[in-house]
Protein backbone atom coordinates (compact mmCIF):
# COMPACT_ATOMS: atom_id res chain seq x y z
CA UNK A 1 0.00 0.00 0.00
CA UNK A 2 2.69 2.44 1.06
CA UNK A 3 4.91 1.44 -1.90
CA UNK A 4 2.07 2.31 -4.19
CA UNK A 5 1.44 5.86 -2.97
CA UNK A 6 4.90 6.79 -1.71
CA UNK A 7 6.37 7.99 -5.05
CA UNK A 8 3.41 10.31 -5.62
CA UNK A 9 3.64 11.95 -2.20
CA UNK A 10 7.43 12.17 -2.37
CA UNK A 11 7.12 14.02 -5.67
CA UNK A 12 4.36 16.18 -4.19
CA UNK A 13 6.75 17.15 -1.40
CA UNK A 14 9.62 17.89 -3.78
CA UNK A 15 7.56 19.91 -6.22
CA UNK A 16 5.07 21.74 -4.00
CA UNK A 17 6.54 21.48 -0.51
CA UNK A 18 3.39 19.79 0.81
CA UNK A 19 4.83 17.32 3.27
CA UNK A 20 2.40 14.45 3.85
CA UNK A 21 5.14 12.45 5.55
CA UNK A 22 2.92 9.53 6.70
CA UNK A 23 2.27 8.68 3.05
CA UNK A 24 5.88 8.05 2.07
CA UNK A 25 7.82 7.58 5.30
CA UNK A 26 7.25 4.09 6.67
CA UNK A 27 7.81 5.14 10.29
CA UNK A 28 5.23 7.94 10.11
CA UNK A 29 2.92 5.61 8.17
CA UNK A 30 3.11 3.19 11.08
CA UNK A 31 2.35 5.98 13.55
CA UNK A 32 -0.68 7.08 11.52
CA UNK A 33 -2.08 3.54 11.30
CA UNK A 34 -1.42 2.93 14.99
CA UNK A 35 -3.14 6.21 15.88
CA UNK A 36 -6.18 5.38 13.78
CA UNK A 37 -6.39 1.90 15.28
CA UNK A 38 -6.12 3.15 18.86
CA UNK A 39 -8.65 5.87 18.11
CA UNK A 40 -11.16 3.37 16.72
CA UNK A 41 -10.61 1.05 19.70
CA UNK A 42 -10.99 3.98 22.10
CA UNK A 43 -14.19 5.21 20.48
CA UNK A 44 -15.73 1.72 20.43
CA UNK A 45 -14.90 1.15 24.08
CA UNK A 46 -16.25 4.59 25.08
CA UNK A 47 -19.49 4.07 23.19
CA UNK A 48 -19.96 0.58 24.63
CA UNK A 49 -19.39 1.79 28.21
CA UNK A 50 -21.65 4.82 27.77
CA UNK A 51 -24.45 2.63 26.37
CA UNK A 52 -24.20 0.24 29.31
CA UNK A 53 -24.30 3.15 31.75
CA UNK A 54 -27.21 4.68 29.85
CA UNK A 55 -29.29 1.51 30.03
CA UNK A 56 -28.47 0.85 33.68
CA UNK A 57 -29.15 4.49 34.61
CA UNK A 58 -32.47 4.55 32.79
CA UNK A 59 -33.44 1.30 34.49
CA UNK A 60 -32.46 2.78 37.85
CA UNK A 61 -34.61 5.83 37.18
CA UNK A 62 -37.70 3.67 36.76
CA UNK A 63 -36.89 2.01 40.09
CA UNK A 64 -39.14 2.47 43.08
CA UNK A 65 -36.21 3.17 45.38
CA UNK A 66 -35.95 6.92 45.86
CA UNK A 67 -32.28 7.07 46.91
CA UNK A 68 -31.32 5.16 43.77
CA UNK A 69 -33.19 7.64 41.54
CA UNK A 70 -31.53 10.41 43.50
CA UNK A 71 -28.04 9.11 42.96
CA UNK A 72 -28.64 8.76 39.23
CA UNK A 73 -30.05 12.30 39.03
CA UNK A 74 -27.06 13.71 40.91
CA UNK A 75 -24.69 11.74 38.65
CA UNK A 76 -26.32 13.19 35.55
CA UNK A 77 -26.24 16.75 36.83
CA UNK A 78 -22.62 16.57 37.97
CA UNK A 79 -21.22 15.05 34.81
CA UNK A 80 -23.24 17.15 32.41
CA UNK A 81 -22.40 20.42 34.14
CA UNK A 82 -18.66 20.14 34.72
CA UNK A 83 -15.91 20.36 32.08
CA UNK A 84 -15.14 16.94 30.55
CA UNK A 85 -11.44 17.74 30.43
CA UNK A 86 -11.35 18.32 34.19
CA UNK A 87 -13.27 15.09 34.70
CA UNK A 88 -10.68 13.27 32.63
CA UNK A 89 -7.78 14.79 34.56
CA UNK A 90 -9.57 14.10 37.84
CA UNK A 91 -9.96 10.44 36.96
CA UNK A 92 -6.49 9.97 35.51
CA UNK A 93 -4.41 11.94 37.99
CA UNK A 94 -6.68 12.08 41.02
CA UNK A 95 -8.04 8.56 41.09
CA UNK A 96 -5.13 7.11 39.12
CA UNK A 97 -2.80 8.10 41.96
CA UNK A 98 -4.68 5.99 44.50
CA UNK A 99 -5.42 2.89 42.40
CA UNK A 100 -3.28 -0.12 43.27
CA UNK A 101 -0.11 -0.86 41.30
CA UNK A 102 0.59 -4.18 39.65
CA UNK A 103 3.97 -5.87 39.91
CA UNK A 104 5.26 -6.32 36.38
CA UNK A 105 8.34 -8.23 37.50
CA UNK A 106 10.71 -5.57 38.69
CA UNK A 107 8.73 -2.42 38.00
CA UNK A 108 5.25 -1.37 38.97
CA UNK A 109 2.53 -0.28 36.66
CA UNK A 110 -0.81 1.22 37.57
CA UNK A 111 -3.67 -1.23 37.27
CA UNK A 112 -5.49 1.09 34.87
CA UNK A 113 -3.42 2.82 32.21
CA UNK A 114 -4.15 6.05 30.40
CA UNK A 115 -6.24 4.21 27.78
CA UNK A 116 -8.34 2.65 30.52
CA UNK A 117 -8.89 5.94 32.30
CA UNK A 118 -9.81 7.68 29.06
CA UNK A 119 -12.45 5.01 28.41
CA UNK A 120 -13.76 5.25 31.97
CA UNK A 121 -13.83 9.07 32.15
CA UNK A 122 -15.26 9.81 28.71
CA UNK A 123 -17.56 6.78 28.94
CA UNK A 124 -19.04 8.02 32.21
CA UNK A 125 -19.35 11.53 30.77
CA UNK A 126 -21.17 10.22 27.70
CA UNK A 127 -23.25 7.87 29.83
CA UNK A 128 -24.77 10.83 31.67
CA UNK A 129 -26.28 11.98 28.39
CA UNK A 130 -27.35 8.48 27.42
CA UNK A 131 -29.33 8.03 30.65
CA UNK A 132 -31.51 11.01 29.75
CA UNK A 133 -31.83 9.82 26.15
CA UNK A 134 -32.89 6.32 27.18
CA UNK A 135 -35.21 7.75 29.81
CA UNK A 136 -37.03 9.80 27.19
CA UNK A 137 -37.32 6.62 25.13
CA UNK A 138 -38.65 4.65 28.09
CA UNK A 139 -41.24 7.35 28.73
CA UNK A 140 -42.38 7.15 25.13
CA UNK A 141 -43.35 3.49 25.52
CA UNK A 142 -47.14 3.42 25.92
CA UNK A 143 -48.30 2.59 29.40
CA UNK A 144 -50.82 0.13 28.02
CA UNK A 145 -48.02 -1.95 26.50
CA UNK A 146 -46.36 -2.28 29.89
CA UNK A 147 -49.70 -3.14 31.49
CA UNK A 148 -50.31 -5.80 28.86
CA UNK A 149 -46.93 -7.33 29.69
CA UNK A 150 -47.80 -7.17 33.40
CA UNK A 151 -51.03 -9.01 32.82
CA UNK A 152 -49.08 -11.72 31.00
CA UNK A 153 -47.14 -12.29 34.22
CA UNK A 154 -43.82 -10.63 33.31
CA UNK A 155 -41.76 -9.45 36.26
CA UNK A 156 -40.63 -5.82 36.36
CA UNK A 157 -37.12 -6.72 35.20
CA UNK A 158 -38.42 -8.87 32.37
CA UNK A 159 -40.78 -6.11 31.26
CA UNK A 160 -37.85 -3.74 31.11
CA UNK A 161 -35.64 -6.14 29.17
CA UNK A 162 -38.15 -7.68 26.76
CA UNK A 163 -40.79 -4.97 26.30
CA UNK A 164 -39.70 -1.48 27.32
CA UNK A 165 -36.08 -1.51 26.21
CA UNK A 166 -36.54 -2.78 22.63
CA UNK A 167 -39.27 -0.19 22.02
CA UNK A 168 -37.43 2.60 23.84
CA UNK A 169 -34.24 1.88 21.91
CA UNK A 170 -36.00 2.49 18.61
CA UNK A 171 -37.57 5.72 19.84
CA UNK A 172 -34.33 7.22 21.04
CA UNK A 173 -32.08 6.13 18.15
CA UNK A 174 -31.89 9.59 16.50
CA UNK A 175 -30.86 11.27 19.76
CA UNK A 176 -28.48 8.41 20.46
CA UNK A 177 -26.83 8.88 17.07
CA UNK A 178 -26.15 12.52 17.93
CA UNK A 179 -24.61 11.60 21.26
CA UNK A 180 -22.48 8.81 19.80
CA UNK A 181 -21.10 11.22 17.20
CA UNK A 182 -20.32 13.82 19.81
CA UNK A 183 -18.63 11.12 21.92
CA UNK A 184 -16.50 10.06 18.96
CA UNK A 185 -15.34 13.66 18.70
CA UNK A 186 -14.82 13.98 22.44
CA UNK A 187 -12.51 10.96 22.32
CA UNK A 188 -9.79 13.30 21.01
CA UNK A 189 -9.64 14.72 24.56
CA UNK A 190 -7.69 11.58 25.47
CA UNK A 191 -4.76 13.45 23.94
CA UNK A 192 -4.49 15.27 27.27
CA UNK A 193 -3.48 12.13 29.13
CA UNK A 194 -1.22 10.90 26.31
CA UNK A 195 -3.36 8.10 24.93
CA UNK A 196 -1.71 7.41 21.56
CA UNK A 197 -4.85 7.98 19.48
CA UNK A 198 -4.88 9.84 16.20
CA UNK A 199 -4.62 13.40 17.55
CA UNK A 200 -1.70 12.40 19.73
CA UNK A 201 0.20 10.45 17.06
CA UNK A 202 -0.31 13.15 14.44
CA UNK A 203 0.90 15.77 16.92
CA UNK A 204 4.03 13.61 17.26
CA UNK A 205 4.43 13.60 13.49
CA UNK A 206 3.96 17.34 13.13
CA UNK A 207 6.45 18.13 15.82
CA UNK A 208 9.04 15.89 14.12
CA UNK A 209 8.47 17.11 10.57
CA UNK A 210 7.10 20.62 11.13
CA UNK A 211 4.20 19.96 8.78
CA UNK A 212 1.34 21.21 10.94
CA UNK A 213 -1.03 22.39 8.16
CA UNK A 214 -0.82 19.11 6.25
CA UNK A 215 -1.39 17.02 9.35
CA UNK A 216 -4.28 19.30 10.38
CA UNK A 217 -5.93 18.59 7.05
CA UNK A 218 -5.42 14.89 7.67
CA UNK A 219 -7.00 15.16 11.13
CA UNK A 220 -10.03 17.06 9.83
CA UNK A 221 -10.49 14.52 7.02
CA UNK A 222 -10.17 11.62 9.47
CA UNK A 223 -12.80 12.94 11.85
CA UNK A 224 -15.22 14.00 9.12
CA UNK A 225 -14.99 10.55 7.51
CA UNK A 226 -15.40 8.90 10.90
CA UNK A 227 -18.51 10.94 11.67
CA UNK A 228 -19.91 10.18 8.23
CA UNK A 229 -19.33 6.44 8.73
CA UNK A 230 -20.98 6.45 12.17
CA UNK A 231 -23.94 8.48 10.92
CA UNK A 232 -24.37 6.12 7.97
CA UNK A 233 -24.19 3.03 10.16
CA UNK A 234 -26.74 4.44 12.58
CA UNK A 235 -29.13 5.35 9.75
CA UNK A 236 -28.88 1.79 8.43
CA UNK A 237 -29.51 0.43 11.93
CA UNK A 238 -32.49 2.72 12.32
CA UNK A 239 -33.93 1.51 9.03
CA UNK A 240 -33.32 -2.12 9.91
CA UNK A 241 -34.96 -1.83 13.31
CA UNK A 242 -37.92 0.25 12.17
CA UNK A 243 -41.21 -1.20 13.38
CA UNK A 244 -44.34 -0.82 11.31
CA UNK A 245 -46.61 1.62 13.12
CA UNK A 246 -43.82 3.35 15.05
CA UNK A 247 -42.23 6.59 13.94
CA UNK A 248 -42.46 7.68 10.34
Amino acid sequence: MLDLIAPFFERLYETTGLNFSPFYDSYDWGRLLEGMWVSVKLISAIIALSLVIGVLGAAAQTSKLRPLRWIVAAYIEIFRNTPPIVQLLFFYFGLGAITPQVDMGGWYEPMIGSFGWAVIAIGIFGGSYNVEIFRSGVEAVPHTTVEAAESLGFSNLKIFIYVTLPLAFRVCLPALTNNIISLAKTSSLAYVIAVPEITYSLSGIWSDNVNVPEMMVLLFVYYILLVAVIARAMTLLERKLALPGYGR
Binding site: A74, I78, N81, P83, P84, V86, T186, M216, Y223
Partner: protein, 266 residues
Protein backbone atom coordinates in the same frame (compact mmCIF):
# COMPACT_ATOMS: atom_id res chain seq x y z
CA UNK B 1 -42.60 12.18 34.49
CA UNK B 2 -41.30 15.71 34.89
CA UNK B 3 -39.94 15.41 38.39
CA UNK B 4 -36.35 15.92 37.33
CA UNK B 5 -37.29 19.33 35.99
CA UNK B 6 -39.68 20.57 38.62
CA UNK B 7 -37.77 19.56 41.69
CA UNK B 8 -34.33 20.57 40.55
CA UNK B 9 -34.32 24.10 41.90
CA UNK B 10 -32.95 23.24 45.32
CA UNK B 11 -30.50 20.69 43.98
CA UNK B 12 -27.85 23.17 42.93
CA UNK B 13 -26.78 24.15 46.44
CA UNK B 14 -27.06 20.56 47.61
CA UNK B 15 -24.91 19.08 44.86
CA UNK B 16 -22.43 21.95 44.96
CA UNK B 17 -22.13 21.62 48.72
CA UNK B 18 -21.69 17.87 48.33
CA UNK B 19 -18.89 18.38 45.80
CA UNK B 20 -17.18 20.90 48.08
CA UNK B 21 -17.57 18.63 51.07
CA UNK B 22 -16.14 15.75 49.07
CA UNK B 23 -13.17 17.92 48.17
CA UNK B 24 -12.47 18.84 51.77
CA UNK B 25 -13.05 15.31 53.04
CA UNK B 26 -10.66 14.03 50.40
CA UNK B 27 -8.20 16.69 51.45
CA UNK B 28 -8.45 15.84 55.12
CA UNK B 29 -8.54 12.09 54.61
CA UNK B 30 -5.27 12.10 52.76
CA UNK B 31 -3.30 13.79 55.50
CA UNK B 32 -1.16 11.01 56.88
CA UNK B 33 1.27 12.24 59.48
CA UNK B 34 3.35 15.21 58.32
CA UNK B 35 1.78 17.67 60.74
CA UNK B 36 4.38 20.32 59.96
CA UNK B 37 3.53 20.39 56.29
CA UNK B 38 0.73 22.44 54.86
CA UNK B 39 -2.44 20.36 54.55
CA UNK B 40 -4.13 20.04 51.17
CA UNK B 41 -7.11 21.99 52.47
CA UNK B 42 -4.93 24.88 53.60
CA UNK B 43 -3.15 24.86 50.26
CA UNK B 44 -6.49 24.93 48.49
CA UNK B 45 -7.64 27.90 50.54
CA UNK B 46 -4.36 29.70 49.88
CA UNK B 47 -4.56 29.22 46.14
CA UNK B 48 -8.31 29.69 45.75
CA UNK B 49 -8.07 33.37 44.67
CA UNK B 50 -5.52 32.41 42.02
CA UNK B 51 -7.79 29.69 40.62
CA UNK B 52 -10.83 31.97 40.68
CA UNK B 53 -8.83 34.62 38.88
CA UNK B 54 -8.19 32.04 36.16
CA UNK B 55 -11.89 31.27 36.09
CA UNK B 56 -12.60 34.91 35.24
CA UNK B 57 -10.58 34.41 32.06
CA UNK B 58 -12.72 31.35 31.29
CA UNK B 59 -15.82 33.50 31.59
CA UNK B 60 -14.32 36.25 29.43
CA UNK B 61 -13.32 33.71 26.78
CA UNK B 62 -16.73 32.04 26.83
CA UNK B 63 -18.65 35.33 26.52
CA UNK B 64 -16.40 36.65 23.76
CA UNK B 65 -16.41 33.35 21.88
CA UNK B 66 -20.19 33.17 22.14
CA UNK B 67 -20.52 36.71 20.79
CA UNK B 68 -18.26 35.91 17.84
CA UNK B 69 -20.00 32.59 17.27
CA UNK B 70 -23.46 34.15 17.35
CA UNK B 71 -22.68 36.90 14.87
CA UNK B 72 -20.77 34.69 12.43
CA UNK B 73 -23.14 31.77 12.96
CA UNK B 74 -26.20 33.86 12.14
CA UNK B 75 -24.53 35.15 8.98
CA UNK B 76 -23.53 31.60 8.04
CA UNK B 77 -27.05 30.39 8.78
CA UNK B 78 -28.56 32.99 6.46
CA UNK B 79 -26.08 31.95 3.80
CA UNK B 80 -27.20 28.35 4.27
CA UNK B 81 -30.83 29.19 3.50
CA UNK B 82 -29.93 31.40 0.57
CA UNK B 83 -31.67 30.50 -2.69
CA UNK B 84 -28.38 30.94 -4.59
CA UNK B 85 -26.17 27.86 -4.68
CA UNK B 86 -23.00 29.96 -4.91
CA UNK B 87 -23.68 31.30 -1.43
CA UNK B 88 -25.36 28.22 -0.02
CA UNK B 89 -22.85 25.51 -0.83
CA UNK B 90 -19.72 27.10 0.70
CA UNK B 91 -21.73 27.91 3.83
CA UNK B 92 -22.88 24.29 4.03
CA UNK B 93 -19.31 23.08 3.63
CA UNK B 94 -17.99 25.37 6.39
CA UNK B 95 -20.82 24.35 8.71
CA UNK B 96 -20.22 20.68 7.98
CA UNK B 97 -16.47 20.84 8.60
CA UNK B 98 -16.70 22.70 11.90
CA UNK B 99 -19.67 20.75 13.21
CA UNK B 100 -18.03 17.41 12.66
CA UNK B 101 -14.53 18.02 13.97
CA UNK B 102 -13.54 17.76 17.61
CA UNK B 103 -13.08 20.95 19.61
CA UNK B 104 -9.49 20.02 20.35
CA UNK B 105 -8.58 19.64 16.68
CA UNK B 106 -10.10 23.01 15.80
CA UNK B 107 -8.31 24.57 18.75
CA UNK B 108 -4.99 23.10 17.60
CA UNK B 109 -5.61 24.31 14.06
CA UNK B 110 -6.18 27.89 15.23
CA UNK B 111 -3.33 27.85 17.72
CA UNK B 112 -0.73 26.53 15.29
CA UNK B 113 -1.85 27.98 12.00
CA UNK B 114 -2.65 31.54 13.06
CA UNK B 115 0.58 33.51 13.50
CA UNK B 116 1.27 34.83 16.98
CA UNK B 117 1.81 38.31 15.63
CA UNK B 118 0.49 40.17 12.64
CA UNK B 119 1.85 43.14 10.79
CA UNK B 120 -0.73 45.85 10.32
CA UNK B 121 -0.86 47.73 7.02
CA UNK B 122 0.69 50.69 8.85
CA UNK B 123 3.85 48.65 9.45
CA UNK B 124 3.48 48.08 13.17
CA UNK B 125 3.30 44.54 14.51
CA UNK B 126 0.63 43.42 16.93
CA UNK B 127 1.05 40.38 19.14
CA UNK B 128 -2.01 38.16 19.37
CA UNK B 129 -2.26 36.76 22.89
CA UNK B 130 -2.88 33.02 23.17
CA UNK B 131 -6.19 33.45 24.92
CA UNK B 132 -7.56 35.50 22.01
CA UNK B 133 -6.60 32.75 19.59
CA UNK B 134 -8.16 30.16 21.88
CA UNK B 135 -11.35 32.25 21.96
CA UNK B 136 -11.51 32.15 18.18
CA UNK B 137 -10.85 28.41 18.29
CA UNK B 138 -13.79 27.90 20.65
CA UNK B 139 -16.02 30.18 18.59
CA UNK B 140 -15.67 28.18 15.36
CA UNK B 141 -17.48 24.96 16.34
CA UNK B 142 -20.20 26.96 18.09
CA UNK B 143 -20.52 29.16 15.00
CA UNK B 144 -21.25 26.10 12.86
CA UNK B 145 -23.83 24.88 15.34
CA UNK B 146 -25.51 28.29 15.65
CA UNK B 147 -25.72 28.34 11.87
CA UNK B 148 -27.36 24.92 11.94
CA UNK B 149 -29.76 26.01 14.69
CA UNK B 150 -30.85 28.99 12.58
CA UNK B 151 -31.33 26.82 9.52
CA UNK B 152 -33.29 24.27 11.51
CA UNK B 153 -35.50 26.98 13.05
CA UNK B 154 -36.28 28.51 9.65
CA UNK B 155 -36.98 25.06 8.23
CA UNK B 156 -39.38 24.31 11.08
CA UNK B 157 -41.70 27.18 10.09
CA UNK B 158 -44.59 25.77 8.02
CA UNK B 159 -44.11 26.59 4.34
CA UNK B 160 -47.68 27.87 4.27
CA UNK B 161 -46.42 30.99 6.03
CA UNK B 162 -43.95 31.70 3.24
CA UNK B 163 -46.74 31.27 0.72
CA UNK B 164 -49.14 33.53 2.63
CA UNK B 165 -46.45 36.20 2.89
CA UNK B 166 -45.81 35.78 -0.84
CA UNK B 167 -49.46 36.30 -1.61
CA UNK B 168 -49.41 39.46 0.52
CA UNK B 169 -46.63 40.72 -1.79
CA UNK B 170 -43.88 40.53 0.86
CA UNK B 171 -40.40 40.32 -0.58
CA UNK B 172 -38.10 37.52 0.60
CA UNK B 173 -36.30 39.87 2.97
CA UNK B 174 -39.53 41.25 4.34
CA UNK B 175 -40.95 37.78 4.90
CA UNK B 176 -37.82 36.77 6.77
CA UNK B 177 -37.75 39.89 8.90
CA UNK B 178 -41.42 40.30 9.75
CA UNK B 179 -42.80 36.77 9.62
CA UNK B 180 -40.18 34.05 9.92
CA UNK B 181 -37.45 35.36 12.21
CA UNK B 182 -39.68 36.59 15.08
CA UNK B 183 -40.87 33.02 15.42
CA UNK B 184 -37.39 31.57 15.04
CA UNK B 185 -35.86 33.49 17.91
CA UNK B 186 -38.05 31.72 20.44
CA UNK B 187 -37.09 28.36 19.04
CA UNK B 188 -33.43 29.22 18.85
CA UNK B 189 -33.02 30.49 22.37
CA UNK B 190 -32.89 27.19 24.34
CA UNK B 191 -30.39 25.45 22.01
CA UNK B 192 -28.35 28.65 21.87
CA UNK B 193 -28.11 28.66 25.67
CA UNK B 194 -27.22 24.98 25.63
CA UNK B 195 -24.33 25.78 23.35
CA UNK B 196 -23.17 28.56 25.61
CA UNK B 197 -23.05 26.13 28.53
CA UNK B 198 -21.17 23.57 26.42
CA UNK B 199 -18.75 26.23 25.22
CA UNK B 200 -17.98 27.29 28.78
CA UNK B 201 -17.34 23.67 29.71
CA UNK B 202 -14.85 23.40 26.85
CA UNK B 203 -12.83 26.52 27.71
CA UNK B 204 -10.45 24.67 30.11
CA UNK B 205 -9.02 22.96 27.02
CA UNK B 206 -7.11 26.19 26.43
CA UNK B 207 -4.85 25.12 29.29
CA UNK B 208 -3.31 22.49 26.99
CA UNK B 209 -1.93 25.33 24.92
CA UNK B 210 -0.66 27.33 27.84
CA UNK B 211 -3.45 29.82 28.49
CA UNK B 212 -3.59 30.77 32.16
CA UNK B 213 -7.24 30.02 32.80
CA UNK B 214 -8.80 28.07 35.66
CA UNK B 215 -7.39 24.65 34.77
CA UNK B 216 -3.94 26.01 33.96
CA UNK B 217 -3.91 27.98 37.19
CA UNK B 218 -5.06 24.95 39.18
CA UNK B 219 -2.20 22.89 37.81
CA UNK B 220 0.23 25.72 38.45
CA UNK B 221 -1.09 26.12 41.99
CA UNK B 222 -0.66 22.42 42.70
CA UNK B 223 2.90 22.58 41.49
CA UNK B 224 3.65 25.73 43.46
CA UNK B 225 2.23 24.17 46.61
CA UNK B 226 4.68 21.29 46.31
CA UNK B 227 2.93 19.00 43.77
CA UNK B 228 2.05 16.36 46.31
CA UNK B 229 -0.29 13.60 45.07
CA UNK B 230 -2.86 14.30 47.79
CA UNK B 231 -3.57 17.71 46.26
CA UNK B 232 -4.93 16.23 43.06
CA UNK B 233 -8.37 15.11 44.15
CA UNK B 234 -9.38 18.18 46.22
CA UNK B 235 -8.05 20.67 43.68
CA UNK B 236 -9.75 19.06 40.70
CA UNK B 237 -12.97 18.63 42.68
CA UNK B 238 -12.87 22.30 43.59
CA UNK B 239 -12.41 23.22 39.94
CA UNK B 240 -15.40 21.08 39.00
CA UNK B 241 -17.44 22.81 41.71
CA UNK B 242 -16.75 26.29 40.33
CA UNK B 243 -17.86 25.28 36.87
CA UNK B 244 -20.87 23.46 38.26
CA UNK B 245 -22.03 26.47 40.26
CA UNK B 246 -21.84 28.64 37.16
CA UNK B 247 -23.27 26.23 34.58
CA UNK B 248 -26.02 24.51 36.52
CA UNK B 249 -28.35 27.54 36.83
CA UNK B 250 -27.94 28.13 33.11
CA UNK B 251 -28.89 24.58 32.24
CA UNK B 252 -31.88 24.75 34.63
CA UNK B 253 -33.04 27.95 32.99
CA UNK B 254 -32.58 26.42 29.54
CA UNK B 255 -34.71 23.47 30.49
CA UNK B 256 -37.43 25.71 31.86
CA UNK B 257 -37.50 27.73 28.64
CA UNK B 258 -37.57 24.54 26.58
CA UNK B 259 -40.51 23.29 28.57
CA UNK B 260 -42.36 26.58 28.33
CA UNK B 261 -41.93 26.81 24.56
CA UNK B 262 -42.83 23.17 24.11
CA UNK B 263 -45.99 23.67 26.16
CA UNK B 264 -47.08 26.78 24.26
CA UNK B 265 -46.70 24.81 21.04
CA UNK B 266 -44.33 27.26 19.43
Amino acid sequence: MTWTVTRLNWRLPVIAAALCLLASVAAVAQQEGAADRETALQALVTWMPFILQGFVLNLVMSVLAMAIATVTGVILGFMQISPSAVIRLPAKLVTHVFRNSPWLVILFAIMFLVPFRVTLPGGETVMIPDWVKATVGFALPVMANVSEILRGAVMSIPSGQWESADSLAFSRGQTLRHVILPQCIRRMLPPWMNWYALLTLMTPMAAILGVNEALGNTQAAMEAAGSRPEFLIPFYLFLMTIFFVFIYPISLWTRRLERRYAASGA
